[in-house]
Symmetry: C2
Subunit: 348 residues, 2 copies
Amino acid sequence: MARGRVTIREVAVRAGVSTATASRALSGNHPVPAATRARVVRAARELDYVANAHARALVGGGRKMAAVVVRQVTSPFYAQVAEGVEAEAADRGWLCVVGATGGDPQREMDFVRLMREEGARLVILVGGVVEDDAYRSRVAQYAQALDASGARLVLCGRPAPDPGIPALVVEFDNEAGARAITGYLLSAGHRRIVFLGGLPGNTALDARVAGYRAALAEHGLPPEAAHVVDCGLGRPAGLRAMTELLKGRREFTAVFAGDDMVAAGALRAIAEAALSVPDDISVVGYNDIPLAEDFNPPLTTVRTPAEELGRAAVRIALRDAASAAGRHHLLGTHIVVRRSVGPPRGAL
Amino acid sequence: MARGRVTIREVAVRAGVSTATASRALSGNHPVPAATRARVVRAARELDYVANAHARALVGGGRKMAAVVVRQVTSPFYAQVAEGVEAEAADRGWLCVVGATGGDPQREMDFVRLMREEGARLVILVGGVVEDDAYRSRVAQYAQALDASGARLVLCGRPAPDPGIPALVVEFDNEAGARAITGYLLSAGHRRIVFLGGLPGNTALDARVAGYRAALAEHGLPPEAAHVVDCGLGRPAGLRAMTELLKGRREFTAVFAGDDMVAAGALRAIAEAALSVPDDISVVGYNDIPLAEDFNPPLTTVRTPAEELGRAAVRIALRDAASAAGRHHLLGTHIVVRRSVGPPRGAL
């Protein structure tokens, strides 16, 4: 009952031109007289001609295309991961497209569906999330649908909600990085350290808080020594929360910001209160975004392998293309020491 | 000779399931038993079924999708423009996808072609470029091909190489911004101002250099007063060029950096030379990226309407959808005064 798809030859015949001309007119990449182009485009429409790439996408294999999904491209961390994916894709002659969700599950679903329809072979979801039931079922559906069309889902910088789903996981050790930098503050003599930027339920932030608590415990401090401010991420959140903290009696000597943007806001709030970093308060961040060394003072922080995370997502997905489920790759982090940490005030 | 495209009903009949089940199995957004899904996918492949969205793209109208093309997402300026496009698209229920070219014309062409094939209604090229013949012919081809398929090309933050091509231009006044901030340095008493970050042939940078020269002339300085260092953009370029400049005899009292990233590099080089901003050297930038106020000292710079540029590109393109060619919209800029400018050394 079905016939073969309309070919470019049929389009050319109907338009009264050669196949080569029809192809050129539709590709738009070669000069073709406007009238000829119009005739070919009309013929293609009348015949309901669909360019080959679409067909390929549905008959398996898909396009040499990777899709990256991030919350926002203005986050320096997400941008670096996306750039890593792009660089690795470009090295292999693949296309890469980036979608930003603004944190809206509907936009995420629309983008993933579009990419699947267009035959992307890799769909890479980047960054920590709040793992609720809606998220878990969404990701399971993405993974199944992509798997059914021969494509792969990669979770990048977030764990798989269910190890059984056909998704590859490439993340870094959020907890270890947090434990290390908290340990660094403890070694400098700090005992009252605030964690600024909690986001309960978020996989990345919960892991950082866990690392922070673990380090305090390792140094023999009681659980009450932990002070987590759940202000979430972003520079404005850090500025607001830090300003608030500085209004009360100062019960802390150091701040561990949930990421470098929170640290930027905290540094600004401290400067506005006419206090000095690190003389009055020490501050550390997380991620080592490219401008962290330009902060005042240059920020001591945890270097996360952002670009490498994106590169590894592509590389591992293509290398391990044969088998799908449950693969998990963990990259390391390390501390970058700059000038935002000193001994606690009064300790010298 | 052509028949209608294969319908979802035909796929359902062949797979022996209801139309609703076939639709669900292919959408991947609803739970369907794996065996059923496999049967439907097989039937769809055998019938060469193409999801509706593809067909729509070719019969006019296209998808409610905007595509943004930038050099790199890790540029805070580009990221903000892309976010503006995304925000405006999301407000209208449109999808938005971002492509990064890394400055490679081939990647640009591949991405634009993909977006056209996928029926994007808007393709937005962002940022200054070197306008050579290859670029001019490329853009003319994009514009024609998109126009032929009922889509629009928007040039965002760059002029149209030829006012006759069917493209919309939304840019900001690079020259006026540069003239204003150079005037600000002159008013503070500086007469020997280096422009750091020229990129000959690049539309955005050439306009900034022109504004810089115009301001010097307006203040009665001879053409030789201009000192343009063609080091290009990016923090590493600024760091390198400034380090080099500081090795020689210091013939300048102020630096106008081609953008804020160059300024970040220049600030770092000045700090490494144990000099102070603004006591020894004043520094200004261009763009007012989100972290410019976190530099040491906070950067005086030109605020460009990055997010609004992206929003306006979508808004104007959709509002003016009726007529295509030669539209040109120019947004304003203004100076943001912070703490990186003082009187010239020895002037007090």
